[in-house]
Symmetry: C2
Amino acid sequence: MAAACPPALAAAGHVSEVRLWQRHLEMARFGATAKGGVNRQALSGEEIAARRQLVAWGREIGLTAYHDAAGNLFLRLDGTAPALAPVLTGSHLDSQPTGGRFDGIYGVLAGLEAVQAIVAAGVRPRRPIEVVAWMNEEGSRFAPGMMGSEVFAGLRPLDAVLAVTDAAGTSVAEALRDVLAAEAGTVAPRPAGPAPHAFLEAHIEQGPVLEAAGVPIGVVTGIQGVRRYRVRVTGTEAHAGTTPRAERRDALLAAVRIVDRLQAEADLPGVMFTVGLFEVKPNAPSVVPADAYFSIDLRHPDDALLRRLGERVAAVAAELAPPCTVEVQEIARADALRFPEDLCDRIAGAADRLGLKHLALPSLAGHDARQLHRICPTAMIFVPCKGGVSHREDEYASPADLAAGCRVLTECLLDLAETAHD
Amino acid sequence: MAAACPPALAAAGHVSEVRLWQRHLEMARFGATAKGGVNRQALSGEEIAARRQLVAWGREIGLTAYHDAAGNLFLRLDGTAPALAPVLTGSHLDSQPTGGRFDGIYGVLAGLEAVQAIVAAGVRPRRPIEVVAWMNEEGSRFAPGMMGSEVFAGLRPLDAVLAVTDAAGTSVAEALRDVLAAEAGTVAPRPAGPAPHAFLEAHIEQGPVLEAAGVPIGVVTGIQGVRRYRVRVTGTEAHAGTTPRAERRDALLAAVRIVDRLQAEADLPGVMFTVGLFEVKPNAPSVVPADAYFSIDLRHPDDALLRRLGERVAAVAAELAPPCTVEVQEIARADALRFPEDLCDRIAGAADRLGLKHLALPSLAGHDARQLHRICPTAMIFVPCKGGVSHREDEYASPADLAAGCRVLTECLLDLAETAHD
């Protein structure tokens, strides 16, 4: 019956759940941790090995490998109209220090599997399709992350990225030189060309929604906005036994008041409020702290609500800090974004045609898709992960769900690349 | 008119404000910090030098130097009835890492000055008078402190103290060997003898009461009780962007709830409530903390109130920790103590006779007097310190106040040692 299928469904039928799963296991060797997770830092030896493996798999099925000056790695399937803007899909190979086997790398391996299925089905797209591994999404070695996609989208100058150094003092420029040198024989500089026709990123959800609903496909409506703050409360060091409360300027107690009020105000549906970093000085049991320093990470898909809550940070801090003083710094602000409805509809339609249940949901984490959204129609496909757990060594997604997401991706890629009936 | 004075007042008249002040300045050279403070750790080279200076001053006026196996240093003025239990006075020479020029050392130098005044006045006490420098009161190098007085009072075995090591791995036994060796020629092992007849400790107040009242002499009624806790809240590490609040076990927010409730319940007159140490893990801005660890230091002169507040720590923690778990450990408990009224009356009487205003107040900090109180009648004399500041490099007490406290001490020492009229 395969001949009667539309080409896209025929291609999706060539997606191999077993091969996709085995490639995840093989990739997990590069940076494997004792507890079954992955520590594969951007531009590290482990990532060089993972890139080499990826290029080898791509070449086996006739893809051409390119890298650009920012270290983004591309595997290209030529189209019948090679001058047309390519359809891009992918994610990243780097991980958190105690990361899992799926965050990022799934989007790259799903892209490769989709292209392999298209090739195996004998389907020829008009537009080129490129599988991309963006450089340094996680930002755990070189901060902040999203470097490759930011440079690609023209949102950050290459020079600024190259100058960033890791904790050991190694610059991105130096680490990147090693990566590009290691690939000199097999990977060519990516030729200049038009901006992408579209970008699709497959990813594990990193949240509990799909698993709880028993649905394999998440149609990502957008990415929630985020605001990040650093708050420094300054008081006066004092003897814990002899300084009466009325004469104390206790930075810890002021910080506690501020955090407790802000968490209460942020206790609204869908609001993510996190104080992940919290430090006091001198941090001695019998000394009233003179200094408390903490982070606030605030996220929500609705920009208006996020702005309102964000404005409360400085207001609440100023109200509750006295007799201490306080300084609030907004260190990051990314507005919420909505992916184009047309693309979301294509993903939903593909899932329907493949008989897969789907569900619309926002992405609560940031992704490279945030940057690509600025230069071309962009969307994301989520698959469930166990317990909603990510950025942990026990991160898990089932072979069946990974394959389901890959089938939807395959059909969407072909849809966007327009199949060539000749 | 000196011949008409009672002997004690005659001796107090020989207290030299200038000499006492100059000795503070000379001692401040041993461990001097750039900001005018003192860093003189227990059993360090700086303390050895300070002890050598103290012994030299003592020998100039005919005192005999002794040390015991715990490293306590004694300067003895013989009495006319040398077999009687001695009157002890003193404090400690060691300091906080960024300590001041008066905490501890004032009590030692005031004792020396008092004995020197007694000698200069030609007054002969019946009982011996000994000036003592207790080993390691502060506990900043070897923790916990009060080692010398605890061993002297039989509250802690010498072996347990000797086994304690500092951050560099050096044991008290090793450090003490150096100290005792350095003094081998000039300081003899203290002979066994009866328990002290009484102990008096002069000290700066380390609080603001005397300065605010414009009173030079504090008659210390006792030492407030203290309870110290360590609280560990355990939650689950989670992604700050993707984990809904309902599914979080945020150790930081639970700790904040607990601290905020306890500080509110402890907001009562005279209660000292301090969270000086506070740490979260993994302490990363975009990760919900899995672990929060903090100290609670609770003090008050009333044991019943202190017990009631102390019992609230575990109760409030258990109530507010969920969905996190919590573990509360009481790591120290010292009941409030009251010095004997008779001794306090003697101090007040001496101040009256010297025409010095005095005021009764509890000590909010712990002192070696806490241990001596267990084995003999004990009391303390406070003098004002600027701004109530202590354990800081800018700690300050005026020459006049230091001398006033010393005059009261002189009269009390003679009072307790009974003057010999022959």
